[in-house]
């Protein structure tokens, strides 16, 4: 799918993020007199629906085509560790700082450890403990876990669906969340089927409320002038980076086209 598709999926996430009470004005938006919609589209429910149910619906139809692989040598080699160490570091840092903390409404920056010391150190400690437990569990049991791949998918996916239902229901004890799971699961399947990426949608959902609040703050500060986004250095640099990211594939394509035309001539 093109950059346009990715942008569209991200915008759909932003669209869904407008469901619920507007935090600044108190207006209920797109709730249609349903109390359960006032809290907005739940992040966990939508993630499980798009990536859990959507994936099951996509894969389950192809159980006949799946080959059962023979599992062996599950421990990563030294070369694999070397190859993956930078992506692991990069992903952990970006995922933790930009994903997990922002989701809890915590601004990352120099004051992070002063203002939210308890939460930040708790999260870091839990990561150490969690990784230690995983290490103890995974080293001896990796082979056993990998044996799950030998279970035919036709036996595996119904329990996965039941687990999705139980997990989604248990986070708010709400049957409406289960129906949301069914609806967005179908959407997730359709998106996967036609190569629309689902990840930007989740990103849009997470960032939607933060974006709206920040936009209002900036507009109020600048007395309604959009110039603030181009005159402030960080904002201007980010806008320039976005422009480069969006326009560079187009420029590359044009260059390739021109080269092809020149060769043909």
């Amino acid at each position: 799918m093109s950059v346009l598709g990715e942008l569209a999926a991200g915008l759909f996430g932003l669209l869904v993020s407008t469901i619920g009470i507007d935090q600044q004005t108190g207006v209920a938006r797109f709730a249609f007199d349903r109390v359960w919609l006032l809290d907005g589209g739940g992040f966990i429910v939508l993630t499980v629906a798009l990536f859990g149910v959507g994936e099951v619906l996509t894969s389950a139809g192809m159980t006949m085509m799946r080959t059962i692989v023979k599992v062996g040598g599950v421990m990563p080699t030294r070369a694999e560790w070397r190859q993956s160490r930078m992506p692991i570091l990069r992903g952990s840092l970006i995922g933790f700082l930009l994903g997990a903390l922002i989701m809890f409404g915590i601004r990352t920056g120099p004051e992070l450890f002063d203002k939210n010391a308890q939460l930040v150190w708790t999260v870091i400690a839990s990561m150490y403990i969690g990784n230690l437990i995983l290490l103890v569990m995974n080293l001896p049991l990796a082979g056993l876990f990998a044996q799950l791949l030998r279970v035919p998918y036709s036996w595996l996916y119904p329990p996965i669906l039941a687990l999705c239902v139980a997990g989604v229901y248990s986070q708010a004890n709400s049957i409406e969340d289960v129906w949301t799971l069914v609806g967005f699961g179908a959407l997730g399947w359709a998106m996967m089927r036609y190569d629309w990426p689902a990840a930007p949608m989740i990103l849009g959902l997470v960032l939607g409320m933060i974006f709206e609040n920040s936009l209002r703050q900036s507009m109020a500060l600048s007395h309604g002038s959009l110039g603030i986004f181009f005159t402030r250095p960080i904002s201007a640099a980010l806008l320039a980076a976005i422009a480069v990211a969006l326009l560079s594939p187009l420029a590359l394509r044009l260059r390739r086209l021109r080269r092809g035309l020149r060769k043909a001539a």
Binding site: L15, T18, T58, M62, L161, V165, N173, I175, Y194
Partner: protein, 151 residues
Amino acid sequence: MKLRGLEGELILCAVFIATDLFWVGVAAGMPLWDGFAPASGFLPSLYGALLAALALAATLMDVLGRRGDDEAKTPVRRAMMILLALAAGAAGIETAGFFASMLLMMLLLFRIAERLPIISSIAAATGVSGGFTLVFRSWLGVPLPAGPWVF
């Protein structure tokens, strides 16, 4: 039912556009601007209008840029069958309880969708539903609906 790639893509695009137009329509009834800053209806209207245009453009580019699409994909009928079983499970949770509705959902999938042996299907469905009920209700304290039964 065989849904060709192109038709399905157009249907998905139509769903996106219909949702966007609905969003814009509802947002039009809200205030758009308040003093210096956008009000409740501004961003939903903007998102809706932008998304409708983007979804249309992305689909058009995709349709023009290819495609007899011979990729192996889930048959629609099969996916719909699984989705129906999931919906039946969801519908039964509050009336029949979590254990019974998940048991039924898994039985439907094992037997009708996958045509697996009946005894094994019953054993697997009962074991998994019972296991999840035990873990979620007894160990994690989640008040999963019990329905008319005691479990």
